[in-house]
Structures are given as structure tokens and as C-alpha cells.
Amino acid sequence: MYGWTGKVLHIDATKRKYEIESLPLSVYKKYIGGKGLSGYYLKDHVSAEYDSYEMPLIFFTGPLNNTISPTSGRMTIMSRSPLTGTVGDASVGGKLGNQIKKAGYDGIIVSGKSSSLIGIRISEAGVEFVDAALLKGATVSEMNLKLSKIGANAVIGPAAENGVMFSNIMVDGHFSAGRNGLGLIMAAKQIKYIYVIGNDATTEVFDKNKLKEGREEVLRLVSASPALMGDLGISNFGTGALYDLMDSRRMMPTDNFRATSYRDAKRMNAWNYDNLYDYKKKGCSGCHIQCKKVGKNSVIMPEFETMSHFSALLENRSIETVVDANVICNDMGMDTISAAVTLGCYKEISNKKLTPEDILLLLNDIAMSTGEGRELKLGSCRYAAIKSVPYASMTVKKMELPGYDPRGAYGMALAYATSTRGACHLRAYPISHEILRKPVVTDRFSFSGKARIIKISEDVFAAVDSLVACKFIFFAASLEEYAKIFYGVTGIKTSGQELMKCGERIYYNERIMNAKNGFAAIDDDLPERFFIEAGSHGEGICVPPLSREDFLEAKANYYKIRGLDDNAQPKKKKMEELGLV
């Protein structure tokens, strides 16, 4: 077997035992790896409670990890989301994916619950369970200092230990497996950290020349991408490069989504961060784009979503506060998007203007479950329900919306609604064509054609998250080039379309899991605000409310194309077609 190790490590945290499973090639061919194989292992347990003994916490790499394939250092962490009750997964960078492969495993599945706080150390030699009682309450940066830099680590911070519904698993100090509350799963299992150290070997590859050819094709396309490698691109400015663009397109969520343009955006953009912090490039293992930015004194610069939500959404004018908020969220181990949107909800309901000090104090309260943080840690949806103002919660399936206002990009609106994990911008990432004009531009103020485009993109990115590669590189490359890389690595002939078919299976599997947990068409919806209130018009751009009728028509089209019934339930015929029965 090339590409994969063929081995999956099963860890029982209750018994503190482990065993190694040999997985047949037929399963790899069907689910690839990463997100796909994670879903394969989650499916039978997805109806268990997130804090039950049965619920697995799954870490999976793909066949491209630990090869020269561009952006192949990422991996998937998956379980059932405490925040949403849906499938909960995150694609995460850092070194963990490659270290797991170097240790000889394609994936690690942790089930059971320890009776006390432990750390798990994994290497080729096996698994060691280490008492971690003294590490209770340690922050992510403290944990990262304690653990050797030679390997890679996944840790939880105080937020997860204190029951924050949007707590993260943090990899290598500042790479977040976020959005779903996966940290809470690890906390429920009483696992403070997982440390993995592999050997020096690279993944065994079928045809190095083909892999190299494919890599060169991808790199050529990346060089031609202004969004990635241009003067103003992500390589130079990080994802913060999107900040000005979102404001100029009048789709920057402002004042808890009550406006879509922020008057202070020009002084809060990536260029100003660079001037203040003189940042340098950093990135995941195996990536040449290096989108992560590290400022002076090693301070990690916020990503676009964090920049947007901790400024415009909360009407904050202090860059330093955004950076500090990002540091607190990372160090406590909680999701910046959900934290900011929950504060936005608080701001609207309490009708308070939040000062920089308020923002930072409330974040600490959330992480430590003190003061108002005891309610805010539940996330925007539950908080708004407690306060009897559900209208102020800007969530889909209880997950907070990211930094792209759906009134400014109708494909994004549909993608938020249909995403299997709640308001996620990354499942279909229609910003690529609606804003960044790749592969070509589509009309962002129209639902026409968007149902199929979203379905296709969901399939593509499900395959991408299974291979694995970074979504950003698909601003430039396509599965056509990655099919060659896949062949070079695994020796299995495939095509972009066949990989997409795997992506369709992987995504449909998530639909099946959500249906098992009672999710239906009524849950594939957006907050009412977007259908009632207009965005901020100006500079020749009109941002009307979404048409409920057009949205419902697009959603119905999506179900038809996806092979779901009118209530978003899986159909037996489609399950058979995809080999999911």
C-alpha cells in the first residue's frame, strides 16, 4: 500500500489500552482519508451523547500527508459537535497530521473516558498514558511550552475544562480545530493533551516523478493566483487580505449583522496590522503559501474572521484589542468566531457599547465560566434563548456566522444554510467565485445556478479535506491536478471527477448522520434578520434583504441535486448509488 500506512490506532481512555487495526484498501479507496475516513468511523456512534463513553474523538490524516504534495500538512479532527449536535469536524494545520503519519498511523480514534486528567503520548513504539492532574487549568501556551517541539501536540485549554460550548482543540499552540466545540469532547474524556512523535520517514510514494509533475502543475497555478501569491495576496498579508475586500463589497458583518460596512475598516486592515506588528510569514508543515502571520514578540496575528468580528461586528476601533482578543481565545482554547458573535449578540441584547476592556474581560469570563461568562459560554443561540431574544442570535444550527454577510453573496447564504456543521463558510467556500472571481466570477446577488454550484463545491472540498490539502490552494488549482498527485502517491489511477464522487459520498454520509440525529429542512435556514433587514447600501452597491421565496427555491433545488427528499432526508436510492447502505 502506498500513501497510506494501512494502520489505525484505537485508544480506549477508560481502560487505558490501545490496539491497532489494519484497514483494507477498499475502505481507503471509498473514503480516502481525513474527513472521509473520520465520517466512516463516526457514523455508527453519531447518535450517542457527546460526553458519553461511546462517542469517539477521531483524528485522521490523508494519503498525501507527509509527502511533497503542496499544502498536505493538514488533517481532520471529528466527533459529534457539542455546540450544534451535528457532525462536528475541523480541518486543522500545524505538524500533527504529518507526525501521525510519521508515527505509522493514518488515524487515531479515542473512545471512553479517563477517570482522571491524563495526557496521551503516541509514537511508533506505542501509546503511553500519563497523569496530567497537575496540568488542570493550564493554558494552551503553557501546555505548548511543556511539550517537546520535536513532535506535535493537540491540547485543550481552560475553556474546554470550564464547559465552553465553542472550545477548541489547539494544535501546536495556535492552530485551531475550531467551530464545533471539539475541545469539550476531549475535556469530557479527561484528556488534557495528545502528543505525537514520529520518525524521520516520509510517506511511501508510488511514483515520485508523477508526484513531482503534479506538484509543479499546482505550484505554477498558485504562482498565477493574485489571491494567493499576488502583492496583496494571502501569502503576504495572511487571510487578513480579505478584510478590505469584504468592506468594499459591502458585506462586512457590522454591529451584530445590523450593518454590512464598517466606517473604521480602513484603519483596521491588514496593512495597519503589518505597520504595528511588523509581522513575518509562518504556516503549516508542507505549505509554501505560509498564510499564518507572526508579529514582533512572537504574537500570533489574527485571521480574517477574527479581525472582522472583533472589529466591525463589535464596533471596536482598536487593533491592539483585536490582537489581544485573539491571544486570549487561542490561549484559553476557544473559537474566535463564535466568541465574537456571542459577544455581538450580548451587545445587541444588552444595548451596551463594548469598550476594549469590556471585550477582553468578557472573553476571560467566558473562558473561566465566571460572571456573565456563565451564560455566554453556551454560545449565541442558547444565550439569546435564555434572554428570550432569539432574533439577536446570528447562527445556523446553533453555530455562529463567520465574516461574510450572506446578503452580499447569495451562494454563501445557501452554503451557510446547507452546511452539515452549521454556519460554515468553508464547506463550499463560494467566496472563491462570488468575490475572488475563481475559476470565473458568478453574480453574487443571484441564486440562479447556485444550488448546483454549492453541491459541487461541497463535494470538491469534502474530497480536499480527505486527501488532504488546504482549501486556499483551490483558489488556483483544481482536483484535476490533485488527481495526478494522488496517483503519484498511491498508484491508484483516478480523475478529478472520481475524487469528486468520493467527496459526494463523504458529504452524503454526513447528511445521513445529521438525519439520524433529527436534523431536517427546517434546520437548513438562516437567521430571520437577513430576510427582513437590508445591509448597508453605498458606493453604487445596493444590499437588499434576501428574498425568502428565492432562498427557499434555491434550497429546494439543492435538495433535488443533492439527492435528498423535500425534508432534507437521505433517499435509499442515493445511498445505494453511493455505497452507503
Binding site: E217, L219, R220, L221, V222, S223, A224, S225, P226, A227, M229, G230, D231, L232, G233, F237, G240, A241, L242, Y243, D244, L245, D247, S248, K266, N269, A270, W271, H433, I435, L436, R437, K438, P439, V440, V441, T442, S448, G449, K450, A451, R452, I453, I456, D459, E480, A483, S495, G496, Q497, E498, M500, K501, E504, A556, N557, K560, I561
Partner: protein
């Protein structure tokens, strides 16, 4: 969807790559819509069912592309793909497969791995995943790539005295069509600069961009255009149609103080460097005129050169077509990016050709001289080619 189909069918005809009655284009969201019903619809419907796509196009190309493509596919020498060496093929198409018949399974097999395929007797089939626009782009790119391949091969065969009568006929016909088109084209008057407002800059760019497309100095609509006004470079957006630039021009401050122009052309870095060079020029035009591209790829030292597999990025010779330099360089940035080779070469010149890619020209205060340079250099290249083979 219907309006997009009509728009891009129209563009195929306007660009001269299809006759009006030829294109069969379909697009699907929940339901499939076509521009017309023919005996081929059923086959293409099966292709759509077998692929994860949202649009499809089948069309015979017009002359001279039809003859050129027919010639190329009847002289494959045992291969089942055409492999042009121009920049667009290298970067986007990779190669162009040929399928034996209008058979849905065969077409699906080909389109699973490539963006387009050629079907003898039926033309070119291609698809889009987000818009019918992709079918127009790929169709046009295939025509362009095959045109370039035919002329570069023909030169080689003439040199080796192994050209055929059929090649001679196609050559004469293609030259005749191109010459007549350029000769009969009535050039409109472009705005005179220097321009005194950003609005006027954009109007001038819209006008010049449309002229480049109308005169078929680009394949599909690729190419880019910029103008320096004060401390801001105005540049066409990436994948924007040069003939539809209104609303698709990004202002880029020279100090990078805003990233609003993240959507700017992939050649922004090169444009900035050219506009900030010693020449004190204000305008840049970039097109893909056919003979400029073809001539850039003809090199008599090719077979003996140890870098001949990498001419497009590593050619170390100083090459010129009369006064116009030819430089290597790939699209965009990166260590082999044309942003490294083009700006120094164009300094003090009226234009520069990037190997296998296209022609860049400069204008002192507006697009009038930039456009004249573009057209003059292309005519010069065509005449040079004729002298080389006749």
C-alpha cells in the same frame, strides 16, 4: 441560466471561433436548459449525468480553426492527445485529448481528466463547474492553442522540408483570414491622455480593453490592462472580460495600503514595476496576439539547446524580433514569474513578448500608442513569419 447561455454563445460567434449555427450549449441547476435542440442533446445529457458539472458546450469551430484541428488530429502519430506548448496549455489545459466518436462514455472518460476534448467531425466539447462562461473560455483557449501549435509545427516542417500540401493550404487560408480581418477592421479613436480623473481613467481602460477584444488580440478575453494615475495603479480584475471592464477595474495604491485589489490581475506586480520604471509611462496593454506568441516559440537553436524543455522559464539567450525582446517567464509571481523578467526587458522599448504567452506594450500618456504598438508588433510578427516560411 438561459441568459448566460445566450451571452456566451454570442461571444463564441463574436470572437470568430464559431459560426452562429454551431454552438450547442446547456446548463443545469435543478433543471437542464439548452440554447437549442439537436440530435446531439441526448448524448450530452448523458455526459452531464455522468459528471459533476453545471454546463456543457459542443461546437465545431469556424475556419481556420476547424481545418487546423482536423489536421492536428489526423497527424497524432500514435498519441491520443494534442500537446501544444503555449502558456495556456501548460498552465490550464495541460493537453487536449481526442475521443473517437460522439459517445457519452468516451466523452465522460476524457472530460474526467481534462477540461476539453476534441471529437472528430463534431468539434470541441468542454464543460463548466460554476458557469457556462468556463465553456467559452476553454473552447477559445483550445482554438488558440491549436492555432499556435499548427504554426510552430509548420515552421519546423518547412525547415526540415517535410511540409505537406495540406499544411501549405491551411497556412495560406489562415493567414488570408487573419490578414483580411485586421485590414478590414476600422479602428475607433481612443481617448487621449493624460487623464485627469479616476473616472476618465476607467472610461479609457474600458474603451481600450474592448478594442483589444474586438480586434481579436486575445483568446477568449484574457489579457490585462492598467494605467497609473497619481499613486494608484488602476488594473483590470483577474478573469475579467477585457470587453466588459466596466465595474471590473481595481485601484491599487502603490504603497499597498489596502488589499481591496486582491481581485486584481495576476500580473499586477509586473504592471506596477513597468509603470514605475525609468520610462515614465502611464499605460500598459497586454494581449495574446497570435503571431507574437508563435514567433516567440520559434528558435533555431531549440534542438541543440540543453534548456529546450524549459524555454518558457529558463531561456538564457537574448532574443529579439527586430527591436522587440522576447523573455521567458510564467504567469504571476514566483521565482520564474514574468514579473522578474518583463519589467527590465521592456524598459526603453515599445513592447516585449513573453515566451509562448503574449505581448505587453506601453503607452506614454494613454492607450493610443500602447494600442498602436500592440498592433504594429503583431503585424510585424506575422510578416516575419511569412518571410520565414515562404
Amino acid at each position: 441560466m438561459q441568459s448566460l447561455i445566450e451571452k456566451y454563445v454570442g461571444k463564441l460567434v463574436e470572437q470568430g471561433v464559431c459560426k452562429a449555427e454551431e454552438p450547442l450549449m446547456g446548463s443545469i441547476d435543478a433543471d437542464l436548459v439548452w440554447n437549442k435542440r439537436t440530435s446531439e442533446n441526448k448524448v450530452l445529457e448523458r455526459v452531464i449525468d455522468g459528471l459533476n458539472i453545471n454546463s456543457i458546450l459542443l461546437s465545431k469551430p469556424s475556419e481556420p480553426y476547424a481545418s487546423i484541428i482536423n489536421f492536428l488530429i489526423t497527424n497524432l502519430n500514435g498519441c491520443d492527445v494534442i500537446y501544444p506548448q503555449d502558456c495556456e496549455t501548460r498552465t490550464f489545459l495541460h493537453d487536449i485529448p481526442v475521443v473517437d466518436d460522439l459517445n457519452s462514455e468516451m466523452i465522460i472518460t476524457a472530460l474526467k481528466v481534462r477540461k476539453a476534448a476534441i471529437i472528430p467531425g463534431y468539434g470541441i466539447v468542454t464543460y463548466g463547474t460554476v458557469s457556462p462562461e468556463q465553456t467559452f473560455i476553454t473552447f477559445s483557449s483550445v482554438c488558440f492553442a491549436c492555432y499556435v501549435k499548427f504554426f510552430t509545427d509548420y515552421y519546423r516542417d518547412i525547415k526540415n522540408a517535410c511540409n505537406t500540401k495540406r499544411q501549405d493550404e491551411i497556412y495560406r487560408n489562415a493567414i488570408d483570414i487573419y490578414s483580411k480581418f485586421i485590414k478590414n477592421f476600422i479602428l475607433p479613436k481612443l481617448y487621449n491622455g493624460p487623464f485627469e480623473s479616476s473616472e476618465r481613467v476607467m472610461e479609457a481602460m474600458v474603451q481600450a480593453g474592448k478594442l483589444v477584444v474586438d480586434l481579436r488580440m486575445v483568446d477568449s478575453f484574457f489579457g490585462n490592462i492598467s494605467y497609473k494615475y497619481g499613486d494608484v495603479v488602476y488594473i483590470s480584475q483577474t478573469t475579467s472580460s477585457l470587453d466588459e471592464l466596466s465595474g471590473c477595474i481595481d485601484p491599487c495604491p502603490l504603497d499597498n495600503s489596502t488589499c481591496s485589489a486582491l481581485t486584481a490581475s495576476s500580473e499586477l506586480t509586473a504592471h506596477k514595476a513597468m509603470l514605475c520604471g525609468e520610462d515614465d509611462k502611464l499605460a500598459v496593454l497586454h494581449g495574446h496576439p497570435k503571431f507574437s506568441v508563435i514567433l516567440s516559440m520559434l528558435c533555431d537553436d531549440h534542438e541543440s539547446c540543453e534548456l529546450s524543455d524549459n524555454c518558457h522559464i529558463k531561456c538564457s539567450k537574448e532574443r529579439f524580433i527586430n527591436d522587440v525582446p522576447i523573455v521567458p517567464g510564467e504567469v504571476g509571481t514566483g521565482k520564474h514569474g514574468l514579473c522578474n523578467t518583463l519589467p527590465p526587458a521592456i524598459n526603453g522599448r515599445r513592447g516585449t513578448i513573453v515566451y509562448g504567452h503574449g505581448l505587453f506594450t506601453l503607452g506614454k500618456k494613454d492607450f493610443v500608442d500602447a494600442f498602436e504598438n500592440l498592433l504594429d508588433i503583431e503585424k510585424m510578427c506575422m510578416n516575419e513569419y511569412k518571410q520565414m516560411v515562404e
